[in-house]
Symmetry: C2
Subunit: 371 residues, 2 copies
Amino acid sequence: MRTFLCLLAATAALAQQPPRLESPEVHTDGSVTFRFRDPNAKEVVLNREGAKPVAMEKNDEGVWSVTTDALEPDYYGYHFTADGVALSDPSDFSTKPNLNFTESQVHVPGPPTIPWELNDVPHGEIHHHFYHSKAVGDDRDFYVYTPPGYNPTARTLYPVLYLLHGFSDDASAWSVVGRANVILDNLIANGKAKPMIVVMPLGYGLTIPAIFSPGAEPPFGSNHRHEQNLTGFRDALLNEVIPQVEGSYRVRIDPASRAIAGLSMGGAESLFVGLNNTDRFGWIGAFSSGGLNEPYKDEFPTLDKAANSRIRLLWIACGADDHLKEFNQKFRAWLDELKVKHTDIETPGGHIWMVWRRNLAAFAPLLFTAR
Amino acid sequence: MRTFLCLLAATAALAQQPPRLESPEVHTDGSVTFRFRDPNAKEVVLNREGAKPVAMEKNDEGVWSVTTDALEPDYYGYHFTADGVALSDPSDFSTKPNLNFTESQVHVPGPPTIPWELNDVPHGEIHHHFYHSKAVGDDRDFYVYTPPGYNPTARTLYPVLYLLHGFSDDASAWSVVGRANVILDNLIANGKAKPMIVVMPLGYGLTIPAIFSPGAEPPFGSNHRHEQNLTGFRDALLNEVIPQVEGSYRVRIDPASRAIAGLSMGGAESLFVGLNNTDRFGWIGAFSSGGLNEPYKDEFPTLDKAANSRIRLLWIACGADDHLKEFNQKFRAWLDELKVKHTDIETPGGHIWMVWRRNLAAFAPLLFTAR
């Protein structure tokens, strides 16, 4: 018993703390109660991904709480804002890795037919690679999903999707937040998607401190950092990540077996890298993309309708409530002018992961199919 | 420019926030300034791993701060306690995954000779596996480090270290917090450790909700949950994880090529699994272990000095300031009574990761060497 007490005491100075609150508490109807202890705060607000901020109410013990309506099954990022300061939920161990701010995350479970629910199906594996990038001048990483049954010693070759995260995400975002591995496991088990390898690289063309140190200028807009970010990322992908993947995994290397897609900044990068290299990427997806400068001709100097013979799918999706809807409309209109064929998808929702999980679940089944 | 603004606005409701503080700010002499905005808190304290809590001071803008003395190069977990509530640092994206409480983490960099510093050496790869455990009845994961140059299609076979985390850690702890992959990369590059595979499984014999839901009873002490946790973990390791590893990696399977080690709860598990299976594990390490019940004979009914012919190394380390020092002394005295040979290591430090990174850096070079 003595040892037991010592072990607990040793795990944290948390022993002095009041007992951990139950937060988030997910009720059977899908409503969620959030709780946060902050006895001296004057105002605490719940910020939930895809919803307007909601004021929380304080009880006599200094615990603020709020219960939502029944929520649609999904994973929702959230944080509290206490007297103007954003804070993750100290009672919740489920976090969303992010280079701007680490939010908490709550799972409202749903039926097994939902693509991101963990099911009793064969699971793929995620590989985490580390290397020094000469293109960017930093030490960086990328993740590789191999599908169930992948065997490096067998003869089967797989097609590859390069899947890019958004601004402020790190390379783990598509697996940890986007649940790309679970989505692919389910799609493959149900025969809805071809078994494929998914590569999830770090998506910046500048170093993380250069972008995310306090006061650093974001790599967007008309400054040279926009161009550095796009071209640095392109060079790291084409000259460093792809050669490593093609050198160590059993993959097909023809353009009909190579796709690129991404969300937000990663959507812009997918368009930039994909449409400028249609000899290498036969499938291109842009989810809620933004961050390309006008005139678009400057970003895509050689793009014209001749690309239609090489592009098997150019899939451009955006949520109806997304801030970037206007960019997507303009960009698609420009593609129409060029007579470059594309598939336009408008879904409900804003600039949120709930949209991007559904985008991946809709896009992946279209890939590597007969033309 | 328009797109740029939208992209930023879309990344978070953080646009309404005051500018992000620079926290932690690591100075060139190794001192660190921590900052936390909380205008209405009455008391904010910095809790840093391995140090006593320190009161922070508030300025006119409601920002609390404190600057430490020069710190030894290392990674330090830390959090703030604001009016009694533990909070991670909202300005810091570097977190320590943990099932009780997600702390922040600060890196005080040091020279390349420090084993956990990222150096320009070949890097191994980390593989993340997911499976359904029949032994425990949950869906769980384990990580596998393969050393630089590992090639699944080559004939080389590698020895394996099973490396176990502590109570409240998850399966990512040894890589994300313990930097096991970086430590092994450096040791291997310098010829100090044999190239080896390191397997880092989830270390619980009960489900995570059964242990970590608010109000759940910890799996220690004289209750049946102590036994369930130990035996459930043992069964998952021996019957599920090891067969998967030995079925899909190029590993040696003789006891001279199989080691087990862990920290805290994982140290107790290494002793429990290792000393009860000396026909399978030739090398056993316990770092700051605790959580075995007396009489020890009940935990190790068949252990006697005959085990000396099978155990190549039984390495028992504990920090001089650790709460569990007394347990380790008693356990070693019991081994002495049995005449079971062991190496006793006392290091400076308490029940902290700074001790365990050094333990791994000292233990790994001893493994898989000639007797």
